[in-house]
Structures are given as structure tokens and as C-alpha cells.
């Protein structure tokens, strides 16, 4: 399962970052932030014509020594980043895809909340629990 899940706003500031508590949080912040470059590159690589039919899932952004970073961009340019451990071989592309889909659904729910101010940090219990269900259970 994931070790870090992040939601980044269109303007590239973090809306939500959660990582497994056992690890160094700062490292994940850096990782996620750096991955945005790749996300932008991938998004801009898709021709402007195809923007509408663009696949939201971007696939593996880049591998580091210990982690694999996956990206997903919603149509409103909100980015989801999931970091999984490289050693975790059980996760296939399909699983990652479904994780993103779940995350997106939950994010949509957050957005639908009339009390949520778009652009604010996400502080939703429901979203939290969805994220936790996808995270590595820290022992």
C-alpha cells in the first residue's frame, strides 16, 4: 500500500499530504513536490487537442531508490500523488489506478461539501478515512 498520499492544488500548493508516521515526513514533502515537475511535463506532453480525452492517470512518474511515485491529474488540474515502496511488488498498475479512482471520488465528495472552501486545506474525516484505508498500516 501507499506510504504517502498527497493532493496538490492547481496552483501547486499542497491541499493534503499524509504519509506513514514512521517515515520522515519531510522527505515525502520533497518527493511529492519534485514529482510535480514530471506531472507538468506529462500533462503538457499530451497535445492540446486531446486535453478533453486525456487519461487522468499518468502512471509511474519516476522511480527513486526506495519509492515509486505515481501521479493522477483531474480535469481541474488538481494533482494526486501516491508514493509506494519500491519493494512492494504486489501493486500492479491496475491497483494503483483503482486507488486513484477511489481517491478522486472521495475528493469529489469533499468538493461537494458546501462548507468546503475550494482552495482550503482538506480537513475531512471521510477523506481521511479513505486515505487511511489506502495507506500502509503502521504498526
Amino acid at each position: 500500500m501507499a506510504v504517502c498520499i498527497a493532493v496538490v492544488a492547481k496552483e501547486n500548493y499542497p491541499l493534503y499530504i499524509r504519509s506513514v508516521p514512521s517515515e520522515n515526513e519531510l522527505k515525502f514533502h520533497y518527493t511529492v513536490h519534485t514529482s510535480l515537475d514530471v506531472v507538468e511535463e506529462k500533462v503538457s506532453a499530451v497535445g492540446k487537442v486531446l486535453v478533453d480525452q486525456r487519461e487522468l492517470y499518468l502512471g509511474l512518474l519516476y522511480p527513486t531508490e526506495d519509492y515509486k511515485v505515481y501521479g493522477y491529474v483531474t480535469n481541474s488540474k488538481v494533482k494526486f500523488v501516491i508514493v509506494v515502496e519500491s519493494s512492494n511488488t504486489s501493486l500492479r498498475d491496475n491497483e494503483i489506478r483503482s486507488m486513484f479512482r477511489k481517491l478522486h471520488n472521495s475528493f469529489t465528495d469533499v468538493m461537494c461539501n458546501p462548507f468546503y472552501n475550494p482552495g482550503d486545506l482538506i480537513q475531512s474525516k471521510a477523506f481521511d478515512s479513505v486515505v487511511s484505508s489506502m495507506m500502509v498500516q503502521a504498526c
Binding site: 500548493y13 519531510l26 520533497y30 513536490h33 514529482s35 510535480l36 515537475d37
Partner: protein, 1425 residues
């Protein structure tokens, strides 16, 4: 990868240049030493050839050699020590720092604007030194010595012998067994014999002859006579000789640079002394210990490189070197003229073209011939072996593979190496085509032999030469490079080679804009073994990312951080700091607070260790200012670190202004300023006026009310006009008030500033020594005094200009918002500017703090924070509306004015709860606490009916003794019982305007009308409970002015001051009084009053609900007040004179009222129910009465007052009519009911007194003491069309009926002897009186017309005789008697009230036809006798 100064081609070419060794004789060394240079250094600036050389390749083609560079260096017999190289590189990098004014280019990527230094000179310096310090290895020949220069001078005893000796030395070094290291390219190295001639010393003839001698021995091609030192070393100050050495001798410059940085002067001293020591050692020994083992690689070290080969015979050079550290480094080449420079240049050129190139050409040709001759054999051999052992050999090799890969060594003469050697030679003379083909061939051979190290070398060079081929016949084989790097690194474990390969490859890739590949390559090369290399490569990788077509800003930033980290690990703190700072640009303000904090923290630490504490403070500041998401412990650490750094900064700089502190946050906008003393609110019985205090929240509505009150009183003082410059007095300035003008503060009166602090951290903070910072300019011009003077010691100005209060300790809990009130006390007039706050900031240590022990912690720093308040946004003009402009906010810039009077008001016995209408006497004390007399004391309130200070006409009646002792609020007089006295009073005496203006402003009768400084006056004050129950807030505004009217030159001087008081009164229900007036039907005897009798019924009900507290009410007295009426007598029976009303009881009183003549004043008339009589015409009673009346009067339609005198000319008759009719029933009589209540409170019985007013206006209509709720006023419909004036109602029947009063006079019983006389005649008088002031026509109809059977039955038996219908005109107020006769035929009881009276106004004709007098039954008894 950053831009370089060199082009790629140049860089790669210069990386591989022909190496030439130098062996000098001792004298030669001495000669060159005059210029502070050794021989190799001497020629180094001229090693790049400017002219073209030519040579022939093996195919006899002419090949042009352009821009060739050779490297001349002293023979070094030891391979460079690894640690030494490393240290050297470290120093090179740390010496190369970005210049202060380095041009940075701005890269805009997305929404990022980054300032990045385009060049990285430290990296280039590193690279150059790295390549130079590469040890020569066996698998390649590029940096092996191709030639050797043997240098002697003409001064030596026998230069020829010396040359021979040097030549032998060279041979020994190359071929002898004791020296393995300096690698030589070809066994028979080219030897070049140089004869140095010192022009200034030597004999030119001798030199020439020696040269001839040498030429004969070694051949013309291999000899050269070099003349240098054309002048003495004394250099004129005006002479400027270009110094081409300076840029080549960085190592020489290194130390000087370091010194100039001022970083380690001590270290450099140590360095020098160390050098001298070690050199002395060296001198003493004769062995060949390498001096580079010295700990300090420095300028001297390089000079000593050559010394080991020269046996030092004396101390000469040592003296030279000893001098050198003192000598300025700029004196290179001091003895060389420009002509000498040219000679050296010519010498190198000659050497290269005549000596080196032919030598290389010859060797290539030889090698090629060898190869060609061997080719036939080897190829046939190989093919034969393949044929014969084809199957068997392969597995053997694969087994060997692992063993041999790196370890395989060819003997020096192996044929495979010859190819490589040939390739290297071709490469060195820029014949890249040929080089590539040879490299390619060699690579194949090496690979087939599984000699991986050799193969990697060949691959690397093949790629490089493919790249350098002119015209690029084939694409650059990047995969060659990748394979080479991988092989070097993974298989051969040779990081140095791998690094060189990567550097080359990255540079080439960069030139082809393959930044991504270059970055990957560079990142791969980072490893744990060398932090410096990793750091530099990561930085270059970062630059690659930013230079990509779509710049990857974040990757750049991230790699910069990684580079910074490695730099700091490598001890390159400056570079680390620079990297972090560049990365910071990306992370700054983008919401990645965790990363930002981390970077800031690192920057802070690095800056601190680099002694840039200002930057460190700034960086730490950033962490603390922003709302960080760090954990509390982390924040605590940040804070402590910040404080520590800050402290060391502030200790370092003792002068100047205090620096700004970031914590705690100040909400400047919420700052409030209060002028005046802290009020003592209560003091025993005394209760001070509430005034204004900082504890009150700002209330817009309330402040508007106060403003209105002040305007009202100021207008009255200024004879009804509000001065144009009027501004309401503000005592408390906040963000709600209008702060456009400078507020006024008074000398010797404190100014309290409330500052709102917020602690954003999760750790507690302590502020100590908290006080305000101010600037003061006294009134005398030109004497401006900066309060900043006392920044460091606020106590210094104690008793001087301004006393500054210091809060010694101010604790703030985590994330707390807290206000601090800081006080200033000005002692001089002038302009004060409050600038900010100054305090010591400290944080709590972990252990629980005992009070007073916190100071032992010591982590307190002094600093300040400014209070900057932005004014409100302006929105008046168009310009202001379209742009964002802010007005000034002057709340912190008070003007200190000369002393003003200051009033304090105390209330004594002021109640908090009252019954409705209750009268209570209290005392007010006015104290002038200033040093200036005070006058014009007034009070204004929205509720003038609530209080009175008594009237001027107070002492009209003698007081009954004991009245005051009785604690009664009223003045009483002992009189006989039931006497009805009346008093005439002018309303003006009670502060009421004759025109009914509101008596809102009341002048307070001060003795002598002034209050001297320090004096106090106690005045009685009466209060009356409001009529409506509930809690009432009553605002008083006391107004006063200074007695000394002085003309001041200052802009605005407030001449008056105000004091506010808000009284809160809880009113509870007492009595409800309803009154009605009826016209009495009886006509009194004396004819004067016959028309004006009236009955007044007063209904009193106890509506108090508090049965336990209030036991009973006594109606003590009923007074009336009217201009026309007076109460006559009480009609009630004598028994219940003392009318008591307990809870829920009700009583009725009836009075007769008569009209009186007096019309020029209010006449008070008293109906006393129990003695003693209360003088209702005097102070409390009359005051309240008048104050009470006015709101009612103002409600009356004004036309009523005037209509009677002047009927409007063209107005409708109907209006006039109704006027007349109304006036007829008008009463205008006010009833004052005075009561006493017996209240039990705390088991004590109290007697409370009070009065209620009822204003009777119309006959017949009930008036009530409780004002009805005026619902109509609360809900007014919005109307858009002007109201149609309501049709003038015809005077109602009821009203008309009031016009005429009828009365039947007849005997009550009449005896008549019916048996004798059947017809009984009774005389009846009908009295008609006109009540109105108009003429009325009356029609009296006596006709006995029964309307119903019942009436017929009742009245049936009597009839009116005589004229039965009259029409009479009645003049105003006329009374008429009409004699009628009634005729009865039976005995019985009859109702005589049958006459119907119709009245109409005389002029109105038929308009108002009739009104019927409601006939009251008038019974007569006819007795039969």
C-alpha cells in the same frame, strides 16, 4: 549544467594535451626564481600555440594542427596522493566563490522567477584541477610524458656536463627501476636541450659559444637558447607589465584569496610557519621525500616540486622561499620585459613545431609500420586459432571474465597497446578521424580479450574523438560513454576514471541539449565516497533541469537541496548556503511549509556558522513568522536556536537601532489607544462615573449616541450653532473610530496603548521588560528629540519627558491571543509618535518554571516590533474609488496639549433598582483633579426625566423641621389637614424652555460657577424611576471647559472636555394610575363657576408583582397642575382617606375640578390625603413633572394651540368646526399622584416615595400613567405616494354632545291631590349652557313621540304643555333657562328626561345637523295626596 567559459570542443581538447616534462639544473632554477617562477611556470602562459602547425599522417596527408596546447610540468616521481588531491580539490572549490555582484540570470518557468547564477566557476575550477591531477594510468597514454626539456644556464661552470647529467637523470627516471611513477609515452623520449641565458647577469658571448657547443652535440633541432631576465628586478612604480601568470597560478593565488576573505588569517599564518618549518626539514635532508605530503598544499608546495631532484647545496633557494610569503604575489615575471615574453613564446613554438610534432609524426609512422607488418601475421593467427579451437576457447574466456576484467594487464610492448598508443598520439595532434578508427580497432581487440579497463578507456576515447571529428561524419555514440562509465565504475571500481568520463560525457550531452540525459548521468555519478564530487555533480544536474526546454523547476530545487546537503557534508559551507538559497526561491511562499521551514532552518544554521548572523536571523525569523505545522518540540527548538543566534547578533552590534523581532505577532490594526487615567470605579459608597475604559467593546450605536449628546451640549454652549471644526471627543481610539486627525492628549495624563499579541507557536513565550517605543518632538520648534535614544534603557528618561511604564513579565501560552496595556505619561507638550514596542523575548525551558527563576535561563533577547497601522481605505473621490488608497491612521500620534481641567464625578447612594416613578435622592460629587480650574459644567442626557439637580426656585417655601431627617426626598410643610393650597410656578424655573424645548442639557449649579483645582462639590440629585419597567441604560454626558480661556497657537485645542457615565437602572412596577374627567351636570350655586365644573376620577391600581418585597402603597397626595384648572376637593368619604393598596388592589378617588382664571403660569394645586403636605411646586416633584410633560406636549398637534385665536382664512370650514368642537372638550389638566410604598428589604421596612403623572386632555377620555405602547409608530408602512390627507372627520357625535350641557331642574317629589284635581302641573326648568366658544343654535324638541312601545308605556302618562319645540341661539358660554311645564294625570314615577336637544354650530348651517343630548333619566315622583 551551467554555462562554461570554454566551448565544449575547447574543453575536451584541453583535457587531453601533450605532456612535456622539465628537468632543470640548480642554476636554471635560480635564474627563473628571480621572477618568482620556476621554469614550467615560466613557460605556462605561452603553452597555447597561436600559429598552425603541420604534420603528415601515415598516409602522407598533410594534417593541420590548430590551436594546440601543450602542458609543461616538472617531473614528479610520485603518483599524486589520493588524500592530497582531494584536499587540493576541496580548496579549489572553496576558494572559488560567486562574486558579490555576480550577474544572475532570471529564469521564468511557469509562475516561478528564479535568480540563478548562470556560471559555476567553482565547478570549472574543480574540473580543471581534477583533470590535471589525474594520475597517469597504464591503460592509456594520454597523460604520459611525450618529451622532456633539460634546462641549464649559461652561467654554470660546465653547462654541457650539466646537460649530460640531466639527460642521465631523465634516463634513470624513465628506465630505472626505482621510479615507477612518471609514465613515459614512448621509450625513447624526446629530449630537448634548453640553454637559459640571464641577460642581466651573464656574458652573451659565452652563452652563444656554449649554445654552439650544445648544438653540435645534440643537433640543431633539439636545442634552444632562451634569453630572459632582460632587466633588473627593480620595477618602476609607473611600469605596467601584463602579468599572464596570474590566471594560471591559481594555487598560488589560493592562499591570498583565502586571506582576503578574512576568514582564516590565523590559519594562514599557521600555514606559513608550517611551511617554513617543513621546508627547513627538507633542506636538511637529501632524500627524495615528496614535499606534497605536507599538510598544506599551497603556493610554496608547487615550487618545491622540483627541488627534490636537485640536491640543495646551500641555503640560497631557501632564503628565496622564505622571502616569498612576504613578497607580494603580483611580482611574477618582474625581470621579464615584453621582449622576453615574446622570446619565450617563440621558444615554445619552436619546441613544438621543430621538436614535438616531428617526434610525434615519426612515432605514428613507426607504430603504423609496425602494425601493418604485424597485421598479416596476427590476423591470420587469430583466424587460424578460431578455426582450430573455435569451440573450446569461449567457455574458458567466460570463466576468466570475472577474474580478469579489471586486473588484466598487458605488457608495455603488447601489440594491442601499440594501437592504443597510436590512437592517443593521433588524438593529441588533433587527428580525430584517424584516432577514432584506431580507438575503434583497439576497443574491438580489448573487448575480445575481455580486458575491460582497456576497453572502457578505448570506448571513452572513441566517443570523444567521434564527437570532435570535424564535420561530424558519424553521430556521437553516447552509448559508448555509458558503457565506459559503467565499466569503469562497476567493473573496474575506478571512480576517478568514471568521473572523468562522466564529466566529458555530460559536457558533450549538454552541448547537444540532451539535458535530461546529462542530468541522469551526473546523478548516477553521485556516491557516498566523495561528498564534494556528489555535491558538484548534483548542482550541475540541477542546472541541467533548469535548462531543459520546459524547465523542471522543482527538480532543480530538489537537487539543489541535495547538493547543498552534500556541500555541507563536504565542509563547503558557503556553497551549501548558496545552494539552499537558490532552492529557497522555488519553495518560498508556495505552501510547502514543511520543506520551507527545513530550508530556512538549514540556511539559518549555515549562515550562522559562516558568520552571517543577519541572514541567519532572517531565515529563522521566517520559520517563526509563518504559521508552521511543525510539532511543538520542533518549534521550541527553532525558537531556541533563533534566540541563540539573535543574541549573538545583538551582542556583536552594540550600536544602532534594535532589530525587529518576529514573535509574537502583533495585530496592529486592533491596537487601541486610551487617553486618561484608569478609573476607580467604586469606592465605598461612592461610585465613580463609568466614563470610557478599555474594557468596553466599541459599539457603533452607542458611540453615535454619545456623539449626539456631545453635539447637543456643544451646540447649546455655542448659542445653538455647532462649530464647524467640532469633533467629538474620543477617549478610546480603536479601528472603528475615525483616526484621520491627530488625537489630543493632555500633559500629565497617561496614554494607554493596548497592543494585541498573538503567539502563533505551540510553545509558551515570555516577554519581559515590555514597554512602548516612542518619538517625541517638543513644542519648541527645532528641538526634536528622538525617543529612540532611550531604546536600550527605557528607565533613562524617567521623570524626563515621558514616563514609560514597563511591564516586567508578560506570559503567553501556546497559540494564545493576549492584550498588553502599556502606559506613557507625558510631561511636556509637543508631538508624540508611538513607534512600537520593545521587549525581551524568551522561551520557557522544559522544566516547570518557578516564579523569578526564568531569568536564570538567560535566553532572552532584546528587540522591538513596530506598530504600523494602515488607515481605512479612502472612498470619496473618483480617483480614490478606482485605486486602492489608504488614509492616514493617527491613533498613535497624539499631540500633547497644555494642562486641561479634569473632572471626576462620584455618585453617592446611587440606586440600582427603582420602582416605576419612585423618587430617590442621591448625591453627586464633582472633583476637579487637575491643576486647572474648571467651569461651565453641564450634563446632558437622552432621558432628562430621569434625574434633576433641583431648580433655582428651590427655597420658596419654608421647610418643615425634620423633613430632611425624615429621609424623604420631598419637601414637606406641616399644615392643617385637607387644606387645598395652590402655588403658581413658572416652568422656566425648572429648566424648561417656554417653547417646550427639550431640557436635555442641564447646567449644574456650581458654587461660584467654577471648580478650583483639587476642589470638590457635593450636590444633591434626585432620581425618578422610569415609567416603564425593565432595565434602563441611561447615559449622562458631563461637559466642562477650562476656565482659562487662552488663545493657543496650536492648531486645534479642545476647549471642552466631557465625561461619560452610564447608569443602569432596573425599574419594577409600582402603581398604575388612570384618570378620567367628566363634566359635572350639576350647576353650582355661584354663577361664576357654573359652567366649569368637572369631576376627575383617579383610578389607582397596585400592579406590583413582588408581593414579598412591597407590602403596600399609600396614596399620600394628589396634586394637579394646569393653567386653567384646579382640583377642588376630594369627594371620597372621610374614612378611607389614608388609602392603602396592597398587592393587586385597586382604589378610586374622585375630585372636583374647577376652572381658575390664572393663565400665565402653571398652577399647582394640592389635594392632601394625609399630612404632612408635600410641596409639589418645588424641586423634586415639580422638576420631574415638567421633565415628564414635554414629550407628551410635543406630540400634540400644534394647531390646537392656535386655532382658537385665528381661524385660518381660506381654510375649510370643516377644520374650523372641528377645532371649535375639540376645544370645547379640552381639559389640559395634569394629575400628580404621590405615593409611599412600604417595602421590606433585609427584614427592614423602608418607606419609598414616588410620584406618577397623568395628563388629562379630553373630557371623557381615560388617561393612564403608563404610556401605551405606540405600535403604530413602530410599524410604519412604507408609502411611495404622498398621503392623501385624511378627510376631516366630522366632529363625532360624542364631541358634539359636549357642546351643550343640559340640566333639568324640578322638584324631586311633588304632592298633588289627584282626587281633587285630576291634572297635575309641574314647572320644570331646562338649563341650557353652551360650553363652546362659538355660537350654537339649539333646537329643543319636547314632542312626545314614543319611539318604542316600552317607552310609551313608561312615559305614556305625562305630557309637556305649552310650546313643545324651541329654537334658540346660544352665544358662547351662555347659559339659558327655559321654563317648561309638565302635566301628569296619575301619581307615580316619571322620567322627565325626554326632551331632545339638537345643537348645531350657528354658522355651519346644516353641515352638522344635530347632536342629541344623551338624555339621562330624570325621575320625578308624583305623589297623590
Amino acid at each position: 549544467m551551467a554555462q562554461c567559459l570554454q566551448s565544449v570542443q575547447e574543453f575536451v581538447q584541453d583535457s587531453f594535451v601533450p605532456m612535456v616534462a622539465v628537468l632543470c639544473s640548480e642554476y636554471a632554477e635560480k635564474v627563473t626564481r628571480k621572477n618568482n617562477l620556476n621554469f614550467s611556470e615560466l613557460v605556462r602562459p605561452f603553452c597555447r600555440l597561436t600559429s598552425e602547425g603541420h604534420m603528415r599522417d601515415p598516409n602522407n596527408q598533410i594534417h593541420v594542427v590548430k590551436n594546440l596546447k601543450i602542458s609543461v610540468s616538472n617531473v614528479v616521481t610520485e603518483p599524486p596522493h589520493h588524500a592530497t588531491t582531494r584536499r587540493l580539490l576541496n580548496e579549489v572549490v572553496s576558494a572559488s566563490q560567486p562574486a558579490e555582484g555576480l550577474v544572475t540570470n532570471v529564469i521564468t518557468a511557469g509562475d516561478y522567477d528564479l535568480n540563478i547564477s548562470a556560471t559555476t566557476p567553482w565547478f570549472e575550477a574543480y574540473r580543471e584541477n581534477f583533470l590535471q591531477s589525474m594520475p597517469a594510468s597504464d591503460h592509456e597514454f594520454l597523460n604520459h610524458y611525450l618529451a622532456c626539456m633539460l634546462v641549464v644556464t649559461s652561467h654554470e661552470a660546465s653547462p654541457v656536463d650539466q646537460l649530460f647529467k640531466l639527460s642521465q637523470d631523465q634516463h634513470r627516471i624513465q628506465h630505472g627501476s626505482e621510479h615507477a611513477y612518471p609514465k613515459w609515452f614512448i621509450p625513447n623520449t624526446l629530449k630537448y636541450y634548453v640553454l637559459l641565458h640571464d641577460v642581466s647577469e651573464g656574458d652573451e658571448q659565452r652563452a652563444e659559444s656554449i649554445y654552439e657547443d650544445i648544438k653540435q652535440r645534440y643537433g640543431t633541432q633539439a636545442c634552444y637558447l632562451l634569453k630572459i631576465n632582460s632587466r633588473t628586478s627593480t620595477l618602476g612604480p609607473d611600469e605596467q607589465i601584463p602579468d599572464p601568470w596570474s590566471q594560471y597560478l591559481h594555487r598560488n593565488n589560493l592562499q591570498n584569496q583565502v586571506c582576503s576573505l578574512g576568514k582564516c588569517t590565523a590559519a594562514s599564518c599557521f600555514c606559513i610557519s608550517n611551511l617554513l618549518l617543513s621546508f627547513a626539514d627538507d633542506v636538511g635532508r637529501v632524500n627524495s621525500d615528496h614535499p606534497l605530503q605536507l599538510d598544506d598544499p599551497s603556493n610554496v608546495a608547487t615550487h618545491m616540486e622540483c627541488i627534490d631532484d636537485i640536491k640543495p647545496p646551500g641555503t640560497g633557494p631557501a632564503v628565496d622561499i622564505r622571502k616569498q610569503p612576504c613578497a607580494a604575489p603580483a611580482t611574477h615575471g618582474a625581470c621579464l620585459t615584453l621582449g622576453d615574453h615574446d622570446r619565450i613564446r617563440l621558444f615554445i613554438q619552436e619546441f613544438t613545431f621543430r621538436g614535438l610534432l616531428p617526434h610525434i609524426e615519426k612515432n605514428i609512422r613507426q607504430l603504423n609500420d609496425q602494425r601493418m607488418s604485424r597485421k598479416g601475421i596476427s590476423s591470420s593467427l587469430i583466424s587460424a586459432t578460431k578455426k582450430w579451437f573455435g569451440g573450446g576457447k569461449v567457455p574458458e574466456k567466460s570463466i576468466n571474465e570475472l577474474k580478469n576484467t579489471s586486473g588484466l594487464l598487458y605488457p608495455p610492448e603488447a601489440p594491442e597497446l601499440q594501437i592504443r598508443k597510436m590512437a592517443d598520439l593521433c588524438f593529441l595532434v588533433q587527428h580525430y578521424d584517424l584516432a577514432y578508427s584506431y580507438y575503434h580497432a583497439a576497443k574491438k581487440d580489448f573487448l575480445s580479450d575481455q580486458a575491460m579497463l582497456y576497453a572502457a578507456g578505448a570506448l571513452e576515447m572513441a566517443a570523444v574523438s567521434a564527437f570532435l571529428q570535424p564535420g561530424a561524419p558519424r553521430p556521437y555514440p553516447a552509448h559508448y560513454m555509458d558503457t565506459a562509465i559503467q565499466t569503469y565504475r562497476d567493473v573496474c571500481k575506478n571512480m576517478v576514471m568514471a568521473e572523468r568520463c562522466a564529466l566529458l560525457s555530460a559536457e558533450i550531452l549538454k552541448s547537444q541539449a540532451k539535458y535530461s540525459d546529462a542530468a541522469t548521468l551526473l546523478i548516477k555519478m553521485t556516491s557516498e565516497d566523495s561528498d564534494l564530487r556528489s555535491a558538484l555533480l548534483l548542482e550541475q544536474a540541477a542546472h541541467c533541469f533548469i535548462n531543459m526546454r520546459s524547465p523542471m523547476v522543482r527538480k532543480f530545487a530538489f537537487h539543489m537541496i541535495l547538493a547543498g546537503h552534500r556541500f555541507s557534508k563536504a565542509g563547503q559551507k558557503r556553497h551549501a548556503l548558496r545552494c539552499y538559497c537558490q532552492a529557497m526561491q522555488v519553495y518560498k511562499g508556495k505552501g510547502w511549509s514543511l520543506a520551507e521551514d527545513h530550508i530556512n532552518f538549514t540556511i539559518g544554521r549555515q549562515s550562522f556558522t559562516l558568520r552571517q548572523p543577519e541572514n541567519a536571523v532572517a531565515a529563522f525569523r521566517h520559520i517563526l513568522i509563518n504559521d508552521s505545522k511543525q510539532a511543538a518540540s520542533q518549534q521550541g527548538a527553532f525558537l531556541r536556536e533563533y534566540l541563540y543566534v539573535y543574541k549573538s547578533v545583538s551582542q556583536a552590534s552594540t550600536e544602532g537601532v534594535l532589530p525587529q523581532l518576529p514573535l509574537p505577532c502583533i495585530h496592529s490594526f486592533a491596537t487601541r489607544v486610551f487617553f486618561g487615567h484608569d478609573r476607580r470605579l467604586a469606592e465605598g459608597e461612592k461610585q465613580a462615573a463609568s466614563h470610557v475604559s478599555l474594557d468596553q467593546e466599541y459599539d457603533r450605536e452607542l458611540s453615535q449616541q454619545w456623539r449626539e449628546l456631545e453635539e447637543q451640549v456643544v451646540a447649546i454652549v455655542n448659542r445653538g450653532v455647532l462649530p464647524a471644526a467640532f469633533q467629538p471627543t474620543l477617549y478610546c481610539l480603536s479601528n472603528q473610530t475615525d483616526n484621520m486627525r491627530f488625537p489630543l492628549a493632555v500633559v500629565e495624563e497617561p496614554i494607554i496603548v493596548e497592543v494585541v499579541f498573538r503567539n502563533p507557536l505551540k510553545v509558551p513565550l515570555i516577554l519581559t521588560g515590555l514597554s512602548l517605543l516612542w518619538k517625541f518632538s517638543p513644542k519648541e520648534p527645532g528641538w526634536l528629540l528622538e525617543g529612540v535614544l532611550h531604546l536600550f534603557d527605557p528607565q533613562a528618561s524617567q521623570g524626563g519627558l515621558i514616563t514609560t511604564e514597563v511591564i516586567s513579565e508578560f506570559h503567553m501560552s501556546p497559540e494564545e491571543k493576549k492584550v498588553a496595556r502599556l502606559k506613557l505619561l507625558p510631561h511636556q507638550t509637543g508631538e508624540l509618535h508611538i513607534r512600537g514596542v520593545v521587549y525581551n523575548l524568551g522561551c520557557l525551558s522544559h522544566f516547570p518554571v518557578v516564579a523569578g527563576s526564568i531569568f536564570s535561563d538567560g535566553l532572552f533577547v532584546r528587540g522591538r516590533q513596530d506598530l504600523e497601522i494602515q488607515g481605512p481605505r479612502l472612498n470619496n473621490t473618483k480617483e480614490e474609488k478606482t485605486s486602492v488608497r489608504h488614509g492616514p491612521d493617527r491613533r498613535l500620534d497624539p499631540i500633547i496639549t497644555p494642562p486641561m481641567p479634569l473632572l471626576e464625578v462620584f455618585f453617592i447612594n446611587f440606586p440600582t433598582g427603582l420602582l416605576c416613578g419612585e423618587i430617590r435622592k442621591a448625591y453627586v460629587e464633582f472633583v476637579n483633579v487637575s491643576k486647572v480650574p474648571l467651569q461651565g459644567l453641564r450634563v446632558v442626557s437622552k432621558h432628562p426625566e430621569f434625574f434633576t439637580f433641583g431648580s433655582h426656585a428651590a427655597a420658596l417655601t419654608p421647610l418643615s423641621p425634620g423633613a430632611s431627617e425624615n429621609c424623604s426626598a420631598y419637601k414637606t410643610v406641616a399644615t392643617g389637614r385637607a387644606s387645598a393650597s395652590s402655588t403658581l410656578v413658572a416652568p422656566a424655573d425648572f429648566g424648561t424652555g417656554a417653547d417646550g424645548s427639550r431640557p436635555g442639557v442641564v447646567e449644574i449649579p456650581l458654587p461660584d460657577s467654577t471648580l478650583q483645582p483639587g476642589a470638590s462639590v457635593q450636590l444633591p440629585m434626585w432620581l425618578r424611576g422610569p415609567d416603564r419597567e425593565g432595565v434602563h441604560e441611561i447615559n449622562f454626558l458631563f461637559y466642562y471647559e477650562s476656565a482659562e480661556k487662552k488663545v493657543s497657537k496650536m492648531r486645534i485645542v479642545s476647549l471642552h472636555r466631557v465625561l461619560r457615565h452610564t447608569a443602569i437602572i432596573c425599574a419594577s412596577r409600582s402603581l398604575s394610575v388612570r384618570a378620567t374627567a367628566c363634566r359635572s351636570n350639576t350647576l353650582p350655586e355661584n354663577s361664576e363657576d357654573r359652567n366649569s365644573g368637572m369631576l376627575v376620577f383617579v383610578d389607582v391600581e397596585n400592579i406590583n408583582t413582588n408581593e414579598a418585597g412591597v407590602r403596600e402603597f399609600h396614596i399620600v397626595q394628589v396634586s394637579s397642575s394646569s393653567q386653567h384648572w384646579k382640583l377642588h376637593s376630594c369627594i371620597n368619604s372621610v374614612e378611607d382617606k389614608d388609602s392603602k393598596l396592597t398587592s393587586r388592589e385597586r382604589g378610586k378617588l374622585c375630585f372636583r375640578a374647577t376652572k381658575c382664571r390664572s393663565a400665565e403660569g402653571e398652577s399647582f394645586n394640592v389635594q392632601m390625603l394625609s399630612p404632612p403636605q408635600i410641596i409639589s411646586a418645588t424641586t423634586p416633584c415639580a422638576d420631574f413633572f415638567f421633565r415628564r410633560r414635554h414629550p407628551l406636549e410635543s406630540k400634540k398637534p400644534p394647531m390646537l394651540g392656535s386655532a382658537g385665536f385665528a381661524p385660518p382664512a381660506g381654510h375649510t370650514a370643516a377644520e374650523h368646526l372641528s377645532n371649535v368642537v375639540c376645544r370645547c372638550s379640552e381639559v389640559d389638566l395634569s394629575i400628580i399622584v404621590l405615593w409611599k410604598a412600604y417595602v421590606v428589604e433585609d427584614n427592614k421596612q423602608l418607606i419609598l416615595e414616588g410620584q406618577l403623572h397623568v395628563a388629562l386632555q379630553t373630557i371623557g377620555r381615560e388617561a393612564c400613567s403608563l404610556t401605551q405602547k405606540e405600535e403604530a409608530e413602530e410599524m410604519v408602512l412604507l408609502k411611495f405616494k404622498p398621503d392623501v390627507p385624511p378627510p376631516l372627520a366630522k366632529p363625532s357625535v360624542e364631541q358634539l354632545s359636549q357642546l351643550i350641557k343640559t340640566n333639568l331642574h324640578y322638584p324631586e317629589s311633588y304632592d298633588h291631590p289627584f282626587p281633587q284635581k285630576s291634572l297635575c302641573m309641574v314647572p320644570v326648568t331646562l338649563m341650557l349652557s353652551n360650553c363652546s366658544l362659538a355660537e350654537v343654535d339649539v333646537i329643543i324638541d319636547l314632542r312626545h313621540k314614543a319611539t318604542s312601545p316600552e317607552t310609551l308605556e313608561v312615559h305614556g302618562s305625562f305630557t309637556w304643555l305649552g310650546q313643545t319645540q324651541y329654537k334658540l341661539p346660544l352665544r358662547a358660554q351662555e347659559v339659558r333657562k327655559l321654563r317648561l311645564t309638565a302635566c301628569f294625570i296619575h301619581a307615580g314615577v316619571y322620567n322627565l328626561g325626554t326632551p331632545r336637544v339638537f345643537a348645531k354650530l350657528a354658522e355651519q348651517g346644516s353641515m352638522c345637523e344635530a347632536s342629541r343630548q344623551s338624555a339621562t333619566p330624570a325621575l320625578i315622583i308624583i305623589n297623590s295626596v
